[in-house]
């Protein structure tokens, strides 16, 4: 199935490029003004009530104690339990949690398929007997695969039903949002039918992934499995092109904005970056702005504002 492999390769390449572009969009955005929002979890001893180091007398002369363990723990709860959604919108959480857990497990499943494929190309059989490590991979692939697909499918269906039955949801969600969820449901359904019917242990699928690693010939695939592979490939390509890849942005929203309380210190690298930004020209054309002049010159200027 040469053409199926081509579709998979193209999908992966497009997905990687799209993800890199998304990361770069935020990573390379200039240093902004501080805009943190409390509670900030790394505030040691203060995060519980939302306090900050600004509560300290002469805070600039004292060492700042950051609790990175607490921040990581908060991140983990946010990623794996959707803590914020649980506390603020339990209805969404009911469907969103299985959907997200399903997606994580499905990603794990794909990674185990890749690992298994690599092992097989290296001559290690992945199955119930033989190499222990390969056996573990075999079982994990099955567990992650079915658990992930079922949870993602149920979650997507639940989210679709919730979005369809809620007036405010219908009002603000575009047809694309509904179709995206249905795409998930369709991919999950086809994959489950295809795998349970013809390849319940994912052996053929693992060989297919192995063929992608070696750029070799794909194993014989039935029509349904070919459709399944094409659908998964297209989904891999599609997700980073949509808002469904919001997990990338969430990292930046939390770390670069919401939890970014880094103070500027004299002579710091941050100060240097800020100096450079103030040296840029301003293009705004409001009457109170001298268009084309540098930020620093405009803000330093004294005189009649009228």
């Amino acid at each position: 199935m040469y053409w199926a492999q081509v579709i998979t390769y193209v999908s992966i390449i497009v997905a990687v490029i799209a993800m890199i572009a998304k990361v770069l969009r935020y990573l390379t955005a200039p240093e902004s003004f501080r805009w943190e929002l409390y509670p900030v979890p790394h505030e040691k001893g203060r995060a519980e009530y939302g306090g900050s180091y600004l509560e300290e007398l002469d805070w600039w002369s004292k060492p700042r104690h950051s609790d990175w363990f607490k921040e990581i723990s908060e991140m983990m709860q946010e990623i794996f339990l959707l803590k914020g959604v649980y506390h603020n919108n339990k209805k969404v959480w009911t469907f969103s949690l299985p959907f997200h857990l399903g997606c994580y497990l499905t990603i794990g499943w794909l990674l185990f398929l890749l690992l298994g494929g690599i092992l097989e190309t290296a001559g290690v059989a992945v199955g119930t007997g033989g190499n222990t490590f390969a056996s573990v991979i075999h079982y994990l692939t099955i567990i992650f695969g079915y658990a992930g697909l079922v949870l993602a499918g149920v979650g997507a269906l639940g989210l679709f039903a919730w979005r369809s039955s809620n007036k405010a949801q219908r009002r603000y969600n575009s047809p694309a949002e509904y179709i995206n969820l249905l795409i998930f449901v369709a991919v999950v359904t086809v994959t489950l039918i295809s795998q349970l019917g013809a390849d319940p242990s994912f052996t053929t699928l693992r060989s297919y992934v192995g063929s992608l690693v070696t750029f070799g010939a794909a194993p014989p695939l039935g029509t349904l499995m070919t459709i399944e592979i094409v659908m998964i490939s297209l989904l891999i390509m599609y997700v980073p092109l949509t808002r469904m890849s919001h997990f990338v942005a969430k990292y930046f929203l939390y770390h670069s904005v919401r939890w970014n309380d880094e103070p500027n210190e004299r002579g710091s690298k941050l100060e240097k970056r800020l100096m450079e930004l103030l040296d840029q020209k301003v293009g705004w054309s409001g009457d109170h702005i001298k268009t084309g002049e540098k930020w620093i010159d405009i803000v330093q200027e004294t005189g009649n504002e009228q």
Partner: protein, 536 residues
């Protein structure tokens, strides 16, 4: 059209008023206001309406012009799009581009924000006040006009919105129906900040189209930079006022205090919201008494802008924000103080301490501290002695959003209150989860036309409800004097207006004031009775 049926695609429709705030839809208030009748909302006169687009909800706090010809309207639409292009560019909007893009790109439309928004809640669920509504109007415009194939795929991707002058004019008005309290952002599972989006819309209108509320721009930052203060107090007038303040201190306390000005090399430059000079001089007096009796080395400034911590640029314009905060930095540098202490003003705290953090560079990077922290040190460490029984009346605390949610200064003011007020109790919720007073983002100073009614009826109603619930039924008797402590000048102004509108001093005995007034009232070195139960 019912308020709940308004859809985003209706936003550009030709109509005199897209939404009508109906008093019948507003949630009721608790005891003793179960039978409260709100005053009718005043209609704007023809003269006030003339030449302006007031087609959102009929309230006027930003004079959006109504061009006379279609050509003029088209030119304004083009100018808006040009401003939008700048707002999305690195060169022109480095100040907020990153958080803006993150918030624009990543809303999953779960509507969790709506539950957190006091404006949406207290309007009775008016669709146009939903935080997502405003942001989505803006997103759809961007998607349609700045995404490849945006117009072609508009229906499918949800970008079907007509971009005409009504859409734009209403968007400007809608940006001023948000307190920028960021409660919505706090509950957003993604971290999307609808408050920031509202602020950035305001910025676009100010920095490109010269459209901003007069109280914030012409009578705000422009006046401050020209005369020294947004109140119009010049350095000369300030010194006259200070004579009155010093005399008043003597009258109230018997103390002879000379307020230090422009003392080079002082440890502390104290900077007040100049609104205090005019409306609440007792706050200025209280700070002076505390700092003098504690033996601190401190000074005020009489330099232009140096005596007014206000920075309304925070609410609508980065250039004005940077200009004002840099003046503050330069004043501090010139005086050679060791630190700047920000008085009781929430937005000034944020502008000077955290936003200023990115503008007070090099030699201007003078340390800044909240007066809440300075006061805590003096009181908790017993550098001044207090008798809490002098404040033996019910006291509750309002948390200014900028001080708490945006800066994490939560406990110092509480530790002070617990030390000086035996009947202190919290509002629910409080701290970082507080509700805005309803005057946030500059609304407290918008006193003209019919906008104050909106302030009292919608965002302020939530705070008033919270205030009432902080006290027991027995305490809500007008004979029991109660105190709402609001350590922020703008919040204080809003709470004064709320208590006046709801006649709360007469009906329920509720008074308001700052934190330092309570401190001085409890100080054993000061004659009893600094705080007067005189509603003003």
């Amino acid at each position: 059209m019912s308020s709940k049926d308004i859809k985003i695609k209706d936003f550009g429709k030709k109509t005199d008023k897209l939404y009508n705030l109906d008093l019948k839809n507003l949630p009721g208030l608790p005891y003793p206001y179960e039978n409260w009748q709100d005053s009718p909302i005043p209609e704007l006169s023809e003269i006030k309406r003339k030449g302006k687009n007031i087609t959102l909800d009929g309230f006027l706090n930003i004079a959006v012009p109504e061009p006379e010809t279609e050509e003029e309207k088209e030119a304004m639409v083009a100018k808006f799009l040009e401003g939008l292009r700048k707002l999305l560019s690195r060169e022109n909007n480095w100040t907020f581009l990153k958080p803006l893009l993150l918030s624009l790109d990543n809303c999953v439309k779960c509507n969790t924000c709506s539950e957190a928004c006091p404006i949406f809640e207290m309007s009775g669920g008016a669709e146009i006040y939903r935080p997502l509504f405003r942001s989505d109007v803006f997103r759809r415009i961007i998607k349609k006009h700045f995404s490849p194939g945006g117009k072609l795929t508009a229906k499918f991707t949800g970008a079907d919105i007509d971009l005409n002058w009504d859409t734009i004019a209403r968007l400007a008005q809608l940006a001023y129906r948000c307190n920028l309290c960021r409660r919505c952002a706090q509950t957003c599972p993604m971290g999307v900040d609808n408050g920031l989006i509202a602020r950035e819309i305001r910025k676009l209108f100010s920095q490109e189209l010269n459209i901003a509320p007069a109280e914030l721009h012409g009578e705000g930052t422009v006046k401050q930079l020209d005369t020294g203060s947004s109140t119009g107090i010049s350095p000369v007038a300030l010194m006259d006022l200070m004579e009155f303040v010093e005399e008043d201190i003597t009258d109230r306390t018997g103390l002879n205090i000379k307020i230090p000005f422009d003392k080079a090399g002082a440890d502390i430059l104290l900077i007040h919201n100049a609104g205090e000079f005019l409306s609440w001089p007792e706050n200025i007096e209280a700070f002076a008494i505390i700092f003098e009796l504690a033996g601190l080395s401190w000074t005020l400034s009489s330099e232009m802008v140096g005596y007014d911590s206000v920075n309304y640029g925070l609410f609508y314009d980065d250039v004005q924000l940077a200009k004002v905060t840099l003046r503050h930095a330069e004043v501090a540098k010139k005086l050679g103080v060791k630190k700047v202490v920000v008085g009781e003003c929430g937005h000034a705290h944020k502008a000077i301490m955290t936003i200023g953090d990115r503008i007070w560079l090099g030699e201007c990077n003078i340390p800044r501290e909240s007066s809440m922290v300075t006061l805590e040190d003096l009181i908790v460490n017993e550098k001044i002695m207090v008798d809490p029984l002098r404040n033996d009346f019910p006291v509750t605390l309002h948390d200014p959003c900028n001080l708490t949610r945006s800066m994490g200064v939560i406990e110092p003011q509480r530790r002070v209150l617990k030390k000086i007020c035996p009947q202190f109790r919290e509002m629910t919720p409080h701290g970082v989860n507080n509700y805005c007073c309803g005057g946030g983002s500059g609304f407290a100073i918008m006193q003209s036309n019919n906008f104050p009614n909106w302030r009292y009826l919608v965002p302020g109603r939530k705070k008033f409800e919270q205030i009432l619930k902080a006290f027991t039924r027995e305490e809500l008797s007008p004979d029991v004097h109660k105190y709402v402590c609001a350590p922020c000048s703008n919040c204080k102004g809003q709470i004064r207006d709320l208590l006046t509108y709801y006649d709360a001093w007469e009906r329920a005995g509720i008074m308001y004031g700052g934190l330092v007034e309570l401190v001085v009232n409890a100080m054993t070195d000061v004659r009893e009775g600094f705080h007067e139960w005189d509603f003003h």
